[in-house]
Amino acid sequence: MTTATSPAVRTANERRPAGSIAWHLGALVVLAVVLYPVIWVLGASFKPSKDIVASLDLLPTKPVWANFSGLADGISGISISTFFTNSLMYAGLAVVGVVLSSSLTAYAFAKIRFAGRNLLFTLMIGTLLLPYHVLLIPQYVLFRNLGYIDTLVPLVAGKFLATEAFFVFLMVQFMRGLPRELDEAAKLDGCGHLRTYWSIVLPLSRPAVITSAIFTFINAWNDFMGPLIYLNTPSKYTVSLGLMMFRDQEGISDYGSMIAMSLVALVPVIAFFMAFQRYLIDGMATSGLK
């Protein structure tokens, strides 16, 4: 981020600290609005249930633990850890699937010159713009006929078959940027494509692969419509559906546990985000450009 500033702006800054103060004020106002809901849920999770909606205070006056200890009982006889295990399984499989299938496909697009490549690439990009909902019903019918309803198969099958065009595209863009000399040298040394892919291109594509892996994890963790449609048995529910069970109880008295559970459900996403935000943000920026 060094080229973004015009010299004119920079000199104006140095001369006028007032400009800098105005800038920070503007940024802080946006920051306050953006972080408000996050801080609110953090504060609310320590409030007694009756205060959660009614109290205007951002933070609790007298913090209580009841909301979190209430979580230990689980919901409708299912422990919270079951939902987390299910979500982890889903997200973990999704990551493995996307990384393997998308990187293989991307390698073919970026490094192998085969007949029909441009046509297939256009088709792949086209799927990016296709509304998912047109596939929803026939896919449901397909997986139902195959007997995979109420399993993770319909949720992760597409990940192993590189249907997430966004990540294929991201990796293609990255692999095209790698110096050609490397894979050509490997070819001269007698490496086949599989070896070149595995020992040269894949390791060098680490930033794109990591970005895809993290996005996949977070998307799978947040996914709501997929589990809503395919999972029926509460013990197989992911965290998103588990959260909906809290809501369905509709007991205002249970507001506390619902908010506490919401916060706990966000923890993995926020943790991933904090750890990898550089990759994520740059990945987002490069996928739009370049």
């Binding site: 973004a4 004119a8 800038w23 809901p37 078959l161 977070i218 985000f273 739009g288 450009l289």
Partner: protein, 318 residues
Amino acid sequence: MTLVKEAPARPAGKRSAAPVAGRRGRRRENLAGYLFMSPWIAGFLLLTAGPMIASLYYAFTSYNLFTPPKWVGLDNFTTMFQDPRWQKSVEVTLKYVVVATPLKLLLALGVALLLAQKRRGQGLYRAAFYMPSLIGASVSVGFVWRALFSDDAVVDRTQKIFGLDVGGWIGNPDYVLYALVALSIWQFGAPMVIFLAGLKQVPQELYEAAEMDGAGPFRRFWNITLPMISPVLFFNVLLESIHAFQVFGSAYVVSDTRCGPADATLVYTCYLYQKGFKEAQMGFASAMAWTLVVAVALVTAVLFWSQKKWVHYEEAAK
């Protein structure tokens, strides 16, 4: 996708260094290409192309999952166009797209311009502003929104300070959609990052020259920044409006699972979900899905057509 630049073709003099040349080598390359992308090919045929054909067929049938589909011709479409709830869902979705997309992009651009200036802590701000784009899709945030916008909660009380007494937005059919719009705008981080990347590409000499000619900040923005980032703006408008057409989770969670009250948040996909998965009218739902595809394709086509008028690519300027 105009933003995608194909890798430049290699000059003829620098032929592939592969020792295997000629027809056999080419055939081998073809085979390798198709082997490597076999997962994608399988996925495309099985999970994209096949289902598309199937849903096109279902759209002309009456199908409840339990008995085989029965051909009914255009019945689904005629029923659909006359269905008041379908009309309502179209109205709600259009309102959502038209209000949420421009506001979100305006905020994203404004903040990107702010962050493009080199200041201390700008990386931290960038990260914080991006976070809602990742957590916004979760059910958790839907609950938080419900709580913030319900009766006697924060938003309700704040507006009372300004003398507005409309109660909570969640329970009010006139306002509940705007709670969803607010949730969408809150996730301005993803387009903001793309705007930032675009702003980085604007050559600084242009600003210096304009300043020398006496152009003020507004003129510089209008005559330099905006044309230079128009490809990025186009990309954001395209992606964000297509996403907005497909909103589901937030409508389902924020405004109770019936997309109400009074169908006020019955977005298109919510009605599609109800028809397909609650009422098992798979034919009708498929007809709805194809109508959505056509609508999205039309919007995409209009945007691509319009870009000739307002999107400037660097190549053309040179």
